[in-house]
């Protein structure tokens, strides 16, 4: 195993307010995350050797956002933009981490950003719907993004004798923690009843099963372990990342109750981190709950429970803060918001805060093992990135 000095650690985090942010441009929003990340790390722009920007784009006007953001923020080192759909943030993290592990950088920034409200809702629905397989699914059949996850929800509910009310439990949990997170888009509780009353978007998924349209940015400053030690008393190490790609075409998936790419990514992450799976090794989980069903599948794909048992985990409140597997104590994509390219970095920021013990009142997990797990899916299982973090103690 690597020593902490040879690893890469997060030494600074920054997170914008998530929501409908028509008060700021994409560059100003980016700065809202980069500035606190630099300050938290105690470094300046000159110290940064590379920065990567996770961004999907299309709905915002700047077509080369990595550079306009970098210009605003005073960054002139090498950079690039990356897209892995809703896992763009994790891809951005991978690039920045590898940039250090490769010896090419000592300090790097991984950020993610999305400015979705710069387009009207109709355009956004259309754009996300195209993020499956355009030619074979969108062109003739008008698939939408909720539509894809609804295909999974239908199958899952049927296969494991679950009800829409069970899925709503994930929304209730998300909103509970969102209400405690000052950066969240929605800061109010909800109930199963309220969720059940919300309109269908794509049956059986309702509006309250769905993450919202969100503007937001998040950034982490990463440093090589030996440098990190000098910059931070509480470095959070990126122990390992696992990744896999699924098919684009839904017909080429062989199962509609879980995401095969997530399972492969998780296995790779555990193997690289030298861990025997997820069940006994983590204090805090961030899972990709773009829809309620996605959270349930994540529990199973990560191996917290067996196939079909994810729904019971929810029913039993075992993924609340005081349960066996505290998950998405920041409100998750569902309540915190889901600015596509920023989500993966927002998850990294959250795990860092949790492992540092800096989460807001009522949503700080009990940290005993010193490890957190991040699960970030792109598209409808097109991409999966699973990342293991630790305090290194």
């Amino acid at each position: 195993m690597k020593s902490n000095d040879e690893k890469v650690a997060i030494v600074g985090v920054g997170h914008s307010k998530f929501g409908k942010r028509l008060d700021v441009s994409i560059n100003e929003l980016g700065w809202e995350a980069i500035k606190p990340a630099l300050q938290d790390a105690g470094v300046t722009q000159k110290d940064v050797d590379f920065y990567s920007v996770g961004n999907f784009g299309y709905w915002s006007e700047e077509i080369l956002p990595a550079v306009t953001i970098g210009e605003y923020a005073g960054l002139s080192c090498g950079s690039l933009k990356t897209e892995a759909a809703c896992a763009s943030g994790s891809a951005s993290l991978k690039i920045a981490v590898d940039s250090i592990l490769s010896g090419n950088s000592e300090i790097a920034i991984a950020m993610g950003i999305e400015k979705m409200y710069n387009s009207p809702n109709g355009t956004i629905i259309e754009l996300i719907g195209r993020a499956g397989n355009y030619f074979w699914e969108f062109e003739n059949f008008g698939m939408t993004f909720p539509g894809y996850y609804a295909l999974y929800a239908t199958k899952y509910l049927d296969a494991y004798h679950s009800r829409e009310e069970d899925l709503c439990e994930a929304a209730v949990k998300a909103h509970h923690y969102g209400s405690l997170n000052p950066y969240a888009q929605f800061q109010k509780e909800t109930s199963v009843e309220e969720c059940m009353k919300s309109k269908y978007v794509s049956r059986p998924l309702k509006l309250m099963d769905s993450s919202p349209i969100t503007d937001g940015a998040a950034a982490v400053v990463l440093a090589r372990g030996d440098v990190a030690k000098k910059l931070s008393d509480t470095p959070v190490y990126v122990e390992a990342q696992g990744y896999a790609s699924g098919t684009a075409y839904m017909g080429r998936r062989d199962d509609y109750t879980g995401l095969e790419a997530s399972r492969r990514a998780a296995e790779a992450a555990y193997r690289k981190a030298g861990l025997d799976g997820a069940a006994n090794n983590f204090d805090i989980f961030e899972v990709h709950d773009c829809f309620t069903i996605a959270e349930v599948m994540a529990y199973e794909d990560l191996g917290l429970v067996k196939k079909g048992e994810g729904i019971q985990l929810l029913r039993d409140h075992q993924t609340y803060r005081d349960g066996k597997y505290p998950a998405n104590l920041d409100g998750g994509l569902k309540s915190k918001g889901h600015p596509i390219g920023a989500t993966g970095i927002s998850q990294a920021v959250e795990i860092t805060k949790q492992l540092r013990g800096e989460a807001e009142k009522g949503r700080q997990a009990d940290i005993r093992k010193g490890r957190g797990l991040q699960h970030n899916v792109g598209g409808t299982g097109h991409y999966a990135y699973v990342t293991v973090y630790s305090r290194g103690d």
């Binding site: 719907g129 074979w136 008008g142 698939m143 939408t144 199958k155 794509s202 017909g251």
Partner: protein, 143 residues
């Protein structure tokens, strides 16, 4: 007069694609003949849908077209209620994934008289269709 805090773009970009189908023209010819087709690798036997004329496993173009008989069972489905702007004329629609008896899965619309009767595992028929707009497509039908 106070200025709006959002500048409405005075430039508009229309994205409308032209998508090459030379390699799979037989698929579209098939639709006009009432047939839905996939490809099969003559070397390893792998069946492809979406059709591809080159097998990525064998790395050869030694593939052939074959017609689906259309017998399928329903794997999963959804009714899309909030539809993209370019589909607003369709109302809501049912999208299904069906497993063809040839062992290939296809996503398409499911036509049925009674949406409440749709059940996972039910039998369906895949057919080529001519849409009212004049183009050819393929859809599942409940039986």
């Amino acid at each position: 007069m106070p200025i709006d805090t959002v500048l409405e773009d005075r430039r508009v970009l229309d994205l409308r694609y032209r998508m090459p189908i030379s390699q799979i023209i037989k698929f579209f010819e098939g639709l006009e003949e009432g047939k839905v087709r996939g490809t099969r690798c003559k070397e390893c036997g792998r069946k492809y849908f979406p059709p591809q004329t080159e097998c990525s496993t064998c790395m050869t173009k030694n593939t052939e077209w074959f017609d689906f008989e259309g017998d399928a069972s329903l794997e999963t489905f959804t009714t899309v209620e909030v539809v993209p702007t370019s589909f607003v004329n369709e109302g809501s629609y049912v999208v299904a994934v069906g497993l063809l008896k040839e062992g290939v899965r296809i996503l398409s619309w499911l036509n049925t008289e009674d949406r409440s009767s749709i059940k996972i595992g039910m039998k369906m028929k895949l057919k080529a269709v001519k849409r009212k707009e004049g183009y050819y497509s393929y859809e599942f039908f409940s039986i």
